[in-house]
């Protein structure tokens, strides 16, 4: 479970202080699929970075699975990101010199798994996203949709508590976007917590709840009746 209390994030540029998040109170239960929506500059990505421990809030609290992240060291946060979180970025964020299999296996190796186990689990993960035939392809040889599926395979390979997805379909055509959302739906069906930032209403409607932000504040939380 993730809970934020009065979360504030400001950026300073010389004397100019810009408040991007202005006191966010927000809770995500285990197994929920949440979409965060809002106009450009509303603060949706910034919110995702705070709760996924990629950035430090200026003030406020973030509690994840009972841990107050404010008291965590950088190493503890790194361990949290490695073991409990999975990330799917807008631009796939794959390492160009690693094959699909190696990209997926890297976090598993960092967790201390031996190469055989890591590669076996990664192969399984890539198979789940329909890429068992592209294990040894470099990202440059994959289409955008395939790269994003590798990115999802990397995010789920270590069975994380939460998947954070930042505009995962923004760079994809309609068909590939559908495929990615199908994977998310499938993961959610198996109880995976997913928090996804998107600006596309039809895709947001796939989620259980839509959190709308405007000018750094939550303006509404809409829960859909459909449950996968």
């Amino acid at each position: 479970m993730i809970e934020t209390k009065n979360l504030v994030r400001t950026f300073k540029n010389g004397d100019v202080v810009t408040s991007v998040l202005k006191g966010i109170d927000f809770k995500v239960e285990d197994g929920e699929f949440i979409a965060i929506m809002g106009r450009s500059g509303a603060g949706k990505s910034t919110l995702l970075y705070q709760i996924s421990l990629l950035d430090e809030p200026t003030s406020g609290e973030i509690v994840i699975d009972g841990h107050d992240t404010h008291t965590m060291t950088a190493d503890e946060k790194m361990q949290f990101r490695l073991t409990k979180f999975g990330y799917v970025f807008q631009d796939y964020a794959l390492l160009p010199e690693l094959t699909a299999l190696e990209n997926v296996a890297l976090p598993l190796l960092m967790q201390g798994k031996d190469r055989k186990t890591a590669y076996a689990e990664s192969t399984g993960s890539l198979s789940r996203v329909g890429l068992s035939h592209r294990l040894h392809s470099l990202p440059s040889r994959l289409s955008g949709g395939e790269q994003q599926r590798v990115s999802i395979a990397r995010a789920v390979a270590h069975d994380p508590s939460i998947i954070f997805a930042d505009e995962p379909t923004a760079n994809l055509d309609n068909e590939s976007s559908r495929a990615v959302l199908d994977i998310f739906r499938e993961l959610h069906k198996h109880g995976q917590t997913i928090i996804m930032v998107t600006h596309e209403e039809p895709f947001a409607n796939e989620a259980q709840a839509i959190v709308r932000l405007d000018d750094g504040k939550i303006t509404s939380i809409t829960r859909h009746s459909h449950v996968h």
Binding site: L54, L106, M110
Partner: protein
């Protein structure tokens, strides 16, 4: 930082980055490392080799491994016959040559010179040798550039060093004269100890060792008769020891037999002039200076290469940190890459030096005016330089990686400054 897991992941990343990097870029970096290695080893090696060539030439052509010479207050080595007999009994000795040595003058144009003409005279050390024994120790028989070497009993025949002849040593120095228009078969007048004899030039030998190039060699029996030396006492004894024998052993053995009371006993090293020893130290310092510059250049090269690599991959470094890869593992991956460049560059350099350059310079020394320069690259010193190069390169590779890795993770991912 150097936990097994970090090293493992660092190695995993480094290998893949190297394997899939541009072949041209990798080749260029390794080429720079090879050049740096050669700069480290060859430049100083040639500087030292320049003098080492001179030292080696003095050793092989003049002093041999051990030289026995007259005491400062004596004109010859006392009891030379017994001493030579003793030397011949030593098992470490391979060959011995005994030399008679007197100051003398040579005159070339005494037959054609008119009253008012300037005499064509050169001062020289006249050395009486047993030609076969001398050749066995110093091999000067093979250094002739004109004519033939002496044989035992050659009557009134001489071999001249090249510095005594104007055509080989055209230097105008006050107080130093050379003979003009003298070649093989020329008759010259040799004056030693007030005795004058007309001799024929049988051979001309070339050497960059002054002691050889400014000498006149003749059969020892001929010189003995000129200087009236009938007691068998000689002025120099050069001893060549067997391969693998330390010359100091023979020196010490001779001293143990009391030879030092009647003669100066020195190894080739003891006999080196102080200026030469000082020059070796100076050239070593110069070589180290050039090497240090080479090291700095290598460090800066690797720093720039890794910095550019890390800065252009800043986003990916951010992603790696973002997905939970330890910053230390990322730094270690760059350390491995630097190490790879340095080790491969050094290995190619080592092969080039020991398989090509050292044998090449040994076979074809550089023709410096005062020595035949060789490449001196003792393996121990070279390996030390390799270690130095690798260490410097690793540090130079780590610093930029550390600078980029410590940047804020999200700023790196988003490309923010």
């Amino acid at each position: 930082m150097f936990q097994t897991l970090n090293i493992r992941i660092g190695f995993f990343l480094a290998v893949r980055q190297l394997r899939r990097s541009s072949l041209w870029t990798t080749g260029l970096i390794i080429f720079v490392m090879v050049l740096t290695f050669l700069n480290l080893v060859v430049v100083s090696g040639i500087l030292v080799g320049l003098l080492q060539g001179a030292v080696d030439a003095v050793r092989t052509k003049y002093t041999a491994d051990v030289i026995v010479s007259t005491l400062d207050d004596k004109t010859y080595i006392d009891n030379s016959t017994n001493l030579l007999a003793l030397i011949h009994t030593l098992p470490e000795v391979e060959a011995v040559t005994a030399r008679y040595r007197e100051a003398g003058t040579l005159e070339a144009n005494y037959k054609t010179r008119r009253e008012a003409d300037k005499p064509n005279i050169a001062a020289a050390q006249v050395v009486g040798i047993d030609p076969a024994a001398e050749d066995a120790v110093t091999g000067i028989g093979g250094d002739l550039i004109e004519g033939e070497y002496l044989v035992a009993g050659d009557y009134d025949k001489v071999v001249l060093g090249n510095y005594l002849l104007k055509q080989y040593f055209p230097v105008e120095t006050p107080g130093f004269t050379t003979l003009e228009n003298v070649g093989i078969g020329s008759k010259i007048r040799l004056k030693v100890d007030g005795v004058t004899r007309e001799v024929t030039v049988k051979g001309i030998l070339k050497s960059k060792v002054d002691e050889i190039a400014m000498r006149v060699f003749m059969d020892d029996s001929q010189l003995r008769s000129m200087i009236g030396r009938t007691d068998g006492n000689v002025d120099e004894i050069a001893i060549k020891v067997k391969k693998g024998v330390d010359p100091a052993v023979v020196r010490d053995e001779l001293k143990l037999h009391g030879v030092a009371a009647g003669a100066k006993v020195q190894t080739f090293e003891d006999g080196q002039p102080k200026f030469l020893k000082d020059m070796i130290v100076t050239f070593n310092m110069l070589g180290n200076g050039f090497s240090s510059i080479g090291l700095v250049v290598a460090s800066i090269t690797i720093f720039i290469v890794i910095f550019i690599n890390a800065i252009t991959r800043r986003k990916f470094i951010g992603i790696l940190k973002g997905i939970g890869i330890s910053g230390h593992a990322i730094e270690i991956s760059y350390v491995f890459q630097s190490m790879f460049y340095a080790l491969l560059g050094s290995s190619i350099g080592l092969i080039l030096v020991y398989a090509a350059l050292v044998p090449l310079f040994a076979a074809h020394p550089i023709d410096f005016p005062f020595s035949d320069g060789i490449l001196v690259a003792p393996l121990g010193e070279t390996m030390f330089r390799v270690a130095l190069l690798v260490t410097t390169t690793v540090i130079a590779g780590f610093i930029p990686a550390w600078m980029i890795v410590r940047k804020n993770t999200l700023d790196s991912i988003l490309g923010r400054n």
